[in-house]
Structure formats: C-alpha cells, structure tokens
Symmetry: C2
Subunit: 538 residues, 2 copies
C-alpha cells in the first residue's frame, strides 16, 4: 500500500512520520518541490534578522535522517505537476533536471501549503517574498547589500520580517492598506503594536495603497514614492491549490481545498491538510482559512490515523495565534469585534489592563486584554491580549476555556497558579470572569470607547473618577473630575441626566458606578477606562 | 445591617470590598489583630530577601484608604477573642491597650487564615516564622545580624525563604523530614528542585528529624548539630480556627472550619473563608486544606455575594500552585502520583521533557512535565511541571482543561498560540494529548522508572535506542545500545523475552516500540526515558 504525500513540511511530514509509526509496512513517498523538507517556516524571518544565527537549526530533518528513522522515501526538488484521480497517479517533475515521471498511489495526501498573495500591482513580481528556505537565502543575500526596505503588508509575517530587517540595520517602511496593522486585533489593541513599531524606528504607513513596485522602491496610489533597496510583499497567503483545482477537486472558500472532517477531498483516496485546506470555524462552523502550523501538524497526524484505519475528526478552529513585535506579544483567539460586527452577531465587550504578575513584585508589566462574550449564553466568543509578557499564557488559558465550554463568568472559577512572580491572586483571566459576571447580572453597565461620542452628544455627562493628578496629566474632553474617594460627598455636584463614569482602566469606575447606583443614579462605566479610550482615539 | 469580618487580608478584605460594592448601606467592620491589613503575604519572603525593596509596596491598602474608598470600618490591632453565636456578638480586645469590648453582628465572616504549625520540639518557640508584616520585620532585622540560617521545612514557604536568605548572603541549611522537598511534586520532579537548591549553595538535608531548636541552631534526632544564627520554622500551616472552635462551630479535617458550598458554618449567620476553612476537592469531593490566596480571595467575594442575596457556590479545588526556586518554576495542579497511590486510585502516568518554545529559537529551555490520567475515563487527574520558563503556562492550561472537562487525549485538540518564541507547533500540552491517546489506544505501552528494576529482575531486557554517543555519556545499568535508526537492521540481535526500550525522553522509544511491534515483538517504552530515570534514581 503506497501513500504519496505532496509537500514535505508541517502537515505533510507529520502525516508521513505518524503513518510510519502506525504502519511499518506502508510505502511512503514524500514529494517536495523545494530542496528542503521539514524546515521551520516560522523561524525563517529570524534567521534573516540574525536572531537565529545557525541556518542549519532551521532544517529539522533531511531526506537522509527521515529515511534512517522512518524509512520515508523523500524526494526533494520534485514537483507534483498533475494528479489523475481516476488512475490514482501523480505526474512528477524533477525541478533540477526537468525530467518527468509518474507515480501511482493507493492514498494521496496533499499538503502543498499556501503561497504569498500577489495582487495585480505592476512590478509586484520583483518584490521578495518569504515562504521557504530558498526565499530566505535570497532575502538574506539581498539584505546584506541593502540600506532600506519597504514591506508591503502589516500582518503577522510582514511585521516579523520588518522587525528582523530592522535588527539588520535597515531603514524599514511598512505599508498597510487597512487603517490598522495586525488585522486579527481590533484597532484599539492594534494601536499598541503600531506604537511599538514606531518606537523601534519602523516607518509605519497605514491606509496606503501601493500602485507600483520597482527595483528602487514603491509608488503609492496617492502619488507618494518610497525609496527602498529591497521591496518585500507579505500581503497574506492563499491556499496553494492549483494542483488540486486542475485535478478537478472541489474547492471552497478562497480557493481552499474542501475536505470533510477527516481530511478527505472530493476525490476518492485523496486527502488534504494544512494551509491549503478550508477549516471549520469553532463558533459557526463556516469555512475559514487559518494558515497556522499547529493545525497543519495536527491535521497531518489525523489523516495518517485515518489512512491507518481509525481517526478522530479534525478539530474546529478558533484561530489562536501569537506574534512577537519588538518584545511585545500580541495574541488572539476566536472572533474579534470587527468580525462580530460584520456578522451582525450580538456581543458584549470587556477591556482590562492588568499587570502580568503581582504589581508589588519587580518587573511587572502591563497587559491589555479584550474579551468578547455572547450576551445571551455567556459563551466566550474571542479574546485578544497585548503586552510584554504573559499575553501568551492568558490567551492559551482562554482558548482552552473556550474548548472546554467554560463561560465568561465561569472564568472567575478557574484555579490558576499564583505566586507573585507569575500571576496575581486574582489572575487577569479570573478578573475577566468577575467583570463578565457583573455585566451579566447587571451589577455594572458599560459603554465602549466608540459609543462615547454619541452618548455625550446626546446629553450624557462624563465623570472622571481618577485623582486630580491623573486628570491633570490628560483627560477626555468634557469630563468632570470627581475622584472616586470623594464621590459620596460630592453627589450634589453631579449634573442631571445620564452619567458616564471612567477611571484609568475601569476598576475605580466600577466602584463609582456602584456608589451612584446606590444614590439612585444610573451610570455607565467606560469600558477599559482612559487607557482604552486613549489608544482607540489616538 | 452590620457585617463583622475577622481578619483583614485576602479573604476578609475581598469580602469587605465586594460587599460594599453590592450594598452601599451596609455597615462593615473589619477586625484585624495585627497592625496591617490588605498586605501581600505572598511577597513577604521577597522583601526579606531584598528582591522587593520597597516595604510599602506590600501594604496594598490602609485602614484610611479603605475608609475613603469603601467606607469600611477597619480596626487594626484588634483581636476577636470570642464569639457568642446565640447573641450574635464578638468579644474584642485591643492588643495595644488590652481594652476589651463587644460588638454585635447581623452577619459574621471569619477569615482568620492559617497559623504556622509548631510541632512539639523543644525550643521550637524560639524559631522565627513568617506569616505577617510583623513577622517579616522581625525576621529582616535578625537577618541583618546573621551569617547562617536553618530553615525547618522544605515546602513552598520554606524554600522561598531559603532562597531569599541566600540572596542576603547567609549560609542556609534546609531541613526536611520527608525524603523530598516540595511535597506537591512527585520525587522524580522534586529532584530537579533539589538540584537547583544545591547548585545555589543551599545545604539541603532530606529525611532528617529536628530534635531540638536553640538560639544557636538545631540538633537533629541522629545527634547531628547544625549551627545557625537564625532558625526559622516553615513546617506548614494549620487553620487558625481556635476562635471558631471555642464558639462551638463544627470543625472538619485538620481542625479546619467546616462550611457549606456558600461558606456558611454550623452557626447561623456566620460564614468562614480562606485558609481557615476546609475546601472540597475537585476530584473526589473530600475535605482538603489548600491554603492559597486565589481561593481565599474568591471565597471572600462569594460570601459577600451570598450576604447580599445571591451567590454562586464555592468552586471545588484542584490545588493549582506554583513556586519559584532560584529561577526554576515548579507548578502543580490536581493529584500527584503519591496521593493516587495512597488512595488506591488507578492512574496512568506520562512524563515528557519538551522545551518551553521551539528549540531552534534562541533561549529555549527544558521542561519536565508529568500528567496523571484516569485509565478508565481518560480524565486528567493532575499534572506537574518544572522548568525555567513556561511551566506556569502549561499548568494553567491543564488546570483549565480539567475545569472544562477536557480529557487527556483531548489535549491534542487544543489550539494554543504558537510562534517560535512562545511555544511549539506541537505545544508541550498538545504533545501530552498525543501520548495519552497512544496509551489509551494501546499504540504504546509504557513502564515507569520505579517498575524498571522489577521488570529487569523478572528477565526483561532493556534496549537503549539513543545514539552511541549518548549511551557512552551515561546509561542505565544492563542496557543494550541499539540506536533507533539501526533497529530495523539489527532485530536479530535482540534478546528473547520481554523488551523494554528507552531513549532520552520517550520520543525515539515510541518510534522504536512501533518498529518492534511490527516485528512481532511486544515492548514497553520507559516513560520519560533516561532523563526521568536519572532524576528519579539519583
Ligand atoms: C515566514 C513564515 C512565518 C510563519 N510563522 C508562523 C508562526 O509563527 N506560527 C504559526 O503557527 N505559523 C506560522 N507560519 C505558517 C506555517 O508555517 C504554516 O501554517 C505551516 O507550515 C503549514 O503547513 P503545510 O504543511 O500546510 O504547508 P508548508 O509547511 O508550507 O509545506 C508545504 C510544502 O509543500 C510544497 N509544495 C507545494 N506544492 C507542491 C507541489 N506541487 N509539489 C511538491 N511540493 C509542493 C512546498 O514547497 C512546501 O514546502 C509561518 C509561515 C511563514 C512562511
Ligand atoms: C510567606 C507566605 C507566602 C505565601 N505565598 C503564597 C503564594 O505565593 N501563592 C499563594 O497562593 N498563596 C501564598 N501564601 C498563602 C496566602 O497568603 C494565603 O492563602 C491567603 O492570604 C489566605 O487568606 P486568608 O484571608 O484566609 O488569611 P490571611 O490572608 O492570612 O488573613 C488572615 C488575617 O486574620 C487575622 N486574624 C486571625 N485571627 C484573628 C482574630 N482572632 N482577630 C482578628 N484578626 C485575626 C490575621 O492576623 C491575618 O492577618 C503565602 C503565605 C505566606 C505566609
Ligand atoms: C518533525 C516532523 C518531521 C514530525 O516528526 P514526528 O516524529 O512526528 O514529531 P516529533 O518529533 O514532534 O514527535 C512526536 C511523537 O512523539 C511522541 N512523543 C512525544 N513525547 C513523548 C514522550 N515523552 N514519550 C513518548 N512519546 C512521546 C508523540 O506522541 C508523537 O508520536 P505520535 O504522533 O505517534 O503520537 C514534522 O512535524 C516536521 O517536519 N516539522 C517541521 C516543520 C514544521 O512543523 N513547520 C511549521 C512550524 S515551524
Ligand atoms: C485588594 C483587596 C482589598 C480587594 O480589593 P478589591 O477592590 O475587591 O479588588 P481589586 O482592586 O482587585 O478590584 C477588583 C474589582 O474590580 C473589578 N474590575 C477589575 N478590572 C475591571 C475593569 N477593567 N473594568 C471594570 N471592573 C473591573 C472586578 O470585577 C472587581 O469587582 P467585583 O468584585 O465587584 O467584581 C483585597 O483583595 C486585599 O486585601 N488583597 C491583598 C491581600 C492579599 O490578597 N494577599 C494574598 C495575595 S499576596
């Protein structure tokens, strides 16, 4: 029984090794177009930047090592050029010699990954891209002779590359067509990333359209010119599904290969995994494109299980992801506010600004966390966290809570490890549970930063319950300062009508709103306080 | 309506502030025996060590700040000396003036915490202890004039103090009666903590009994003498339930105050929370003593909710905890093997030794993880993790998975945030899921380090599938070295009879055992490989 695998990295090679462990007798052939297999895609930007010095450390396996340990027949520089699903054959071309041949399969696994998006911009083909080891080598060589770079695209990969080019001393401009970088984040959290980029010398241009790419730089739609010795396109990736399409396999959203819960395509005995396939969203079951390594690896393993005779279904996807940007962690899981709004899905929002560990222990740093909650069911819809440290932990915990069906209020009951170096007696995640419970039970009503202007225009008054010193350092226009500790004695100073209270982050605002409630005044607490408002409106 | 609270720190003050937010009109009186409230107990050792330089940062609130913000009537240096549940009164003594008085309550919350255990050892009363700010000041003063210290007790607090005394330059001996420090860990993981302590100059003595304490040191039961300018006892804590006991309240295990799911004691209108009460174990519902801050705070908040009219029940407890030991993190949740064995509860064990993040990214460090699984239901029973970094995250994720009812095999489906600085495409937690699934499905059979000797004595052969170089650097006595990559060609060299395979951590052993399986040979993979065995048998 011969299994042929197209693509020899995350999904493909995970399938190959697992299949060998399940079936010592299987014939397993891996076809890989580039000269390398099992390389660490995710480390490529860091070798360009010199952070990962040892290039060899990115090459986790070789055809030889895989033959020795797993008896895999790994053929590099070998491209699958077409598939005949009826005859169960793959036409193969040696990309060095140009020689072609045919190989038959009993089972075929497609793991071709995703290719950089190339929008129809004149000259875009001269831009560098980063997908594989060859790309990395070419980019690194170019970097060595370049003084400046323009990176088109402010997503995960674009920002990683921008940071690494900066490490290498280049002047770096990042061009992003959207009004914010890092699309998985909502704008008020993305702003923290923008600041970090700019603080580190990145020339970040938002809302700019590239009209033309040339060897000397980029021309913008607004006529502006950006000189750059090196232009790199990181506008996103699309499923590398050409082979599947030509073979007549059913494609789904965005050209992704459509598979069932066990990775089976529309053709018998043909499976597909990883970046090339459409995944199922954990929240609504819709097709989603989430090109991430953990899912690619897991799907590869699951398909091997299925071929060997038994498999659990593919998991549904929340898109949990993280990126480091000049020491700042930005992590996400589930849906963000933009997506919920676009889908017209009701949601409750919570912003908090805790420290990663007890404030009294040296080295505590700030986190900005956002939780999105279903107001009907209290289910967690998504979360985002940005900070120096501990954003990864909180998003992993929330992603796990979502997987376990723990509600937003239920986060309060999580028993998380606490010592002052590592967390807080009320961990940031637990605290989200408290706030969620308060909102759910109507103990607190909140208002979002983008609702403030409308509410004030409609006649509400804004009470800033921070200290006089904080107020003097910067305040929301129109706010009246009454520190929370004086509020009980100064109730008579409050204007009539609707009240909005706010503090720096929401904690004192919560206590103030409870005081006002007892005094018979309804108030809304500005969610996330001054800190969220300030970032959102910057 | 007056609520009186005994104890003004974690549980007590959390109840007070929450109650104020729920009921602006309530009269809330907090009685605290010491001169301080709302202090950071967990930070005390670090101020002694000079890590937290600013003493004031440990004093999170004062009676004045709590009066201003929460209108609390906080009375420090005020001890509750007796309770009359029938008359709803508390007799109170000013510990400075000796004056006594009586206060009536509508509701009473007992949050007296836990007191250091003082076993009946002659001279033990001359030993220092660390529970509150006064203790800290006394200890810090003594440290300033001491060159050496003996710490009796190798638990969380003992080790934190030992580390901090070392920071201050003292010669430190830790005396532990059990054969291992850090009882929540099983011995093979505790050994990593032992090494860290010794590498940092701690004179760690295990299995020693203290016979007498004197101002010049400690005499051991075996006659040995340890000179120490300072002797500190950190043998554990016991519920400070004397007040409750005298008042006739029902006590439970270990003298803890017995409460129902809403914190109600046996006396009407009297609640109790925190270290003083018996908690309910998440696994078997039994009474457990888990003196930790997160639970104390949460219980305080929940009791306030109950008094104000509505509350969720107390959560059941898994004992999730963490301690830092000279930069090493040791974290636990749920039951350990010792406890499962003592309870006669069937369990499956998994040891892994992953890195905290992708090995190819600079700065990766090792983790030792242990997962305990119910062989019937696949439920996670507990976990332990020790390492430089990322042990906190993995234990928090596993604790959350347990709370969400995710099975051990289900960990494989967690979607955790991955970029090379923060994790692995197969995160250590995901990997535990793979191993759990393999064991569950019989794809791999494993043997524990403590079962090895017996198996070898019964005639099994041990095959070390590491490389020749690794074998030469240190091997298990009696092992035959056949590197996994050569195994297929050297099957004929294998002895007859039962086979046990092992590698460094278990990964190659797993592949080897699959090769042997296909060759018709049953084999057991030594769980955790050489690394677990080496630590366990050291
Ligand atoms: C620069 C960069 C950084 C990244 N960082 C992260 C990160 O931090 N975290 C994360 O989760 N993910 C990250 N990713 C994404 C991650 O690498 C992918 O999700 C994962 O590798 C997808 O696995 P796959 O098996 O589907 O495809 P790949 O791993 O890309 O493998 C597909 C392989 O198939 C080969 N191939 C394609 N077509 C053919 C053909 N016709 N014949 C033969 N071979 C073919 C390709 O050459 C390629 O080597 C990053 C990706 C890049 C490029
Ligand atoms: C040195 C040290 C380090 C610690 N480190 C950690 C850690 O890293 N992580 C963690 O989770 N936990 C840690 N803890 C435990 C944590 O501090 C406790 O679990 C938590 O404080 C318990 O809260 P509580 O409200 O029950 O009791 P406490 O916070 O101890 O408060 C009880 C208060 O009640 C007062 N009191 C007692 N009896 C009376 C009376 N009759 N009248 C008036 N007042 C009275 C006491 O003086 C005391 O101040 C540590 C504890 C110590 C001592
Ligand atoms: C490395 C690669 C070849 C896969 O090899 P692999 O042998 O399947 O994977 P690992 O070395 O991680 O080992 C995992 C196996 O060890 C087992 N294992 C892990 N720890 C174990 C332990 N302590 N005891 C026993 N077994 C253990 C796992 O269960 C798993 O086996 P299974 O799949 O049969 O359940 C493939 O993932 C790859 O090419 N990766 C590089 C590319 C990539 O992932 N890029 C994207 C991210 S940068
Ligand atoms: C600090 C202490 C006095 C409690 O004060 P507190 O006001 O209840 O607690 P916090 O300052 O943490 O604030 C928590 C409140 O803010 C709310 N909150 C937090 N972030 C918020 C946000 N962004 N928006 C709105 N509300 C928010 C929470 O919901 C919670 O209110 P709730 O209980 O009504 O739900 C008490 O815990 C204490 O004395 N601690 C020190 C002692 C101790 O814990 N020792 C052991 C560990 S070292």
């Amino acid at each position: 029984m011969r299994t042929v695998i197209v693509g020899g990295v995350a999904g493909g090679m995970s399938a190959a090794t697992r299949l060998r462990r399940l079936d010592e007798a299987a014939e397993i052939v891996v076809l890989e177009r580039t000269s390398y297999v099992s390389f660490a895609n995710c480390g490529l930007p860091y070798h360009v930047g010199g952070v990962i010095e040892d290039r060899a450390s990115l090459l986790l396996q070789t055809p030889e090592s895989l033959a020795a340990r797993f008896r895999l027949d790994v053929r590099v520089s070998t491209e699958a050029v077409s598939i005949d699903p009826d005859r169960h054959t793959v036409a193969v071309r040696n990309v060095v010699t140009g020689e072609t041949s045919e190989i038959t399969y009993d089972r075929l696994i497609l793991a071709p990954g995703a290719a950089p998006v190339r929008p129809p911009i004149p000259g875009i083909d001269t831009a560098y891209a980063l997908r594989n080891v060859e790309d990395m080598d070419a980019l690194a060589a170019k970097v060595a002779t370049s003084g400046s770079a323009a990176v088109i695209g402010g997503g995960f990969i674009g920002l990683e590359i921008a940071e690494n080019l900066r490490h290498r001393g280049l002047h770096v401009t990042v061009l992003e067509a959207a009004p914010q970088a890092m699309a998985p984040l909502d704008p008020e959290l993305a702003e923290l990333v923008h600041r970090r980029l700019r603080d580190n010398g990145i020339d970040l241009r938002l809302g700019v359209a590239v009209a033309e790419v040339s060897p000397t730089g980029v021309r913008l739609a607004d006529g502006g010119e950006i000189h750059a010795d090196l232009v790199l396109a990181a506008i996103g990736v699309r499923p590398d599904s050409g082979l599947a399409e030509t073979a007549g396999l059913t494609l789904g959203r965005g050209g992704a290969i459509l598979v069932d819960d066990f990775g089976r395509t529309s053709a018998p005995d043909v499976y597909a995994v990883g970046d090339a396939v459409a995944k199922r969203d954990a929240l609504d079951g819709s097709e989603v494109l989430v090109p991430l390594a953990n899912t690619a690896n897991l799907q590869g393993r699951r398909v091997a299980d299925h071929i060997a005779g038994a498999a659990l279904p593919f998991r549904r996807i929340s898109g949990t992801a993280i990126v480091g940007v000049f020491g700042l962690q930005a992590a996400v899981t589930g849906w963000n506010e933009k997506r919920l709004v676009a889908a017209g899905r009701p949601h409750r929002i919570i912003h908090t600004h805790p420290t990663n560990h007890a404030g009294y222990y040296p080295g505590a740093s700030g986190l900005a966390i956002k939780l999105l909650v279903d107001p009907e069911t209290d289910a967690i819809l998504g979360a985002q966290a940005v900070g120096e440290e501990g954003a990864d932990k909180r998003i992993d915990v929330i992603a796990t809570a979502m997987a376990g069906g723990i509600t937003a209020s239920g986060l309060a009951d999580l028993e998380l490890a606490y010592a002052p170096q590592f967390g807080s007696a009320k961990d940031p995640v637990t605290m989200l549970g408290f706030v969620a419970q308060n909102l759910r039970e109507g103990l607190m009503e909140s208002i979002q930063w983008h609702e403030l202007e409308g509410a004030l225009a409609a006649g509400a008054s804004l009470i800033d319950v921070r200290s006089a010193g904080e107020f003097a350092d910067g305040a929301i226009p129109g706010a009246i300062n009454i520190p929370v500790d004086e509020l009980r004695d100064r109730l008579s100073e409050l204007p009539d009508g609707d009240l909005i209270v706010h503090c720096a982050v929401g904690v004192r605002g919560h206590t103030a709103s409870r005081i006002l409630h007892a005094a018979g005044r309804r108030s809304l607490n500005l969610d996330g306080g001054y800190r969220t408002w300030e970032a959102a409106t910057a």
